[in-house]
Symmetry: C2
Subunit: 147 residues, 2 copies
Amino acid sequence: MTKSNQSIEEKIENLKQRCQELGMRITTQRIEIFKEVASSCEHPDAETVYERVKKRLPNISFDTVYRTLSSLEEMNMIFRVDSLLPKARFDADRRTHIHFLCIKCGEVYDIFPKDGYEIKIPDNSKDFGEIKDINLQVRGICNKCRH
Amino acid sequence: MTKSNQSIEEKIENLKQRCQELGMRITTQRIEIFKEVASSCEHPDAETVYERVKKRLPNISFDTVYRTLSSLEEMNMIFRVDSLLPKARFDADRRTHIHFLCIKCGEVYDIFPKDGYEIKIPDNSKDFGEIKDINLQVRGICNKCRH
DNA sequence: TTTCTTATTAAGAATTATTCTTATTAAATA
DNA sequence: TATTTAATAAGAATAATTCTTAATAAGAAA
């Protein structure tokens, strides 16, 4: 994760550029799906993305949403936040932050640490393969679920 | 996660004790399912646990495996390692360690850090709820998938 | 021990999330 | 503008998980 804080427009420009670099077509669906994840701070799941994009592109298919979310993930434009439910959630915020994951309701909250905070990983981590990303979760019962 | 390194027998004794404390019955299925996760270091998924326990308890049902894995998780006896696939994997090792998660094949590797290593979380993490566990993942392409 | 209560289980149906198949469409290039 | 082919829509298929119901067995009580 980086520290840049861009506007949606900048993020979309960035996506278009990455598509061109990779020889991928810039399609309306790809842009709209990315825009939906990038403009939400609530880590939507595939179904939520589908419902929302459908309002602007009524013919969009579920398959396109899944396929596009996966390709955006491979491009490193979005991050798959694994919930404990059998249902993936997505995040387009690539700034350093960690997730509070409620083990009761499955909700995911962003925790933005103070400047200077850094996630340290063991030195031997790279012995297992090529590191692409780091994901730190704090799991517990969220305030809402505690009443 | 704690630092204790117990034998399987001790872990099972511990489970029985926890069951009694919580007023839960000590059933053969519960013990065998836990034993399977606790004696494996490969983070088995529900199906794998089912296949293995089935050898000793041929009548065990899939539902019992799922239900029991969830209750063991709630009891904090096992940990749900979320893989990126829509398939949960489980870990009964409660010592401090982190996971290397291959984004290509879904394999999960344990990384045991040197003494003194500690996962630091932001101070405001507890503002979101009651913290039960911390999960640090390193995601990338494992050596096997890089050829 | 035997009986009783009820948590737990087996079986299999149902549901939910995700992926696949095929024909069609449209982005990028010539 | 025509051509090529990556990307898409539709909906069927699959895979993981959960639910429903009747039967079983763990632990408490007699």
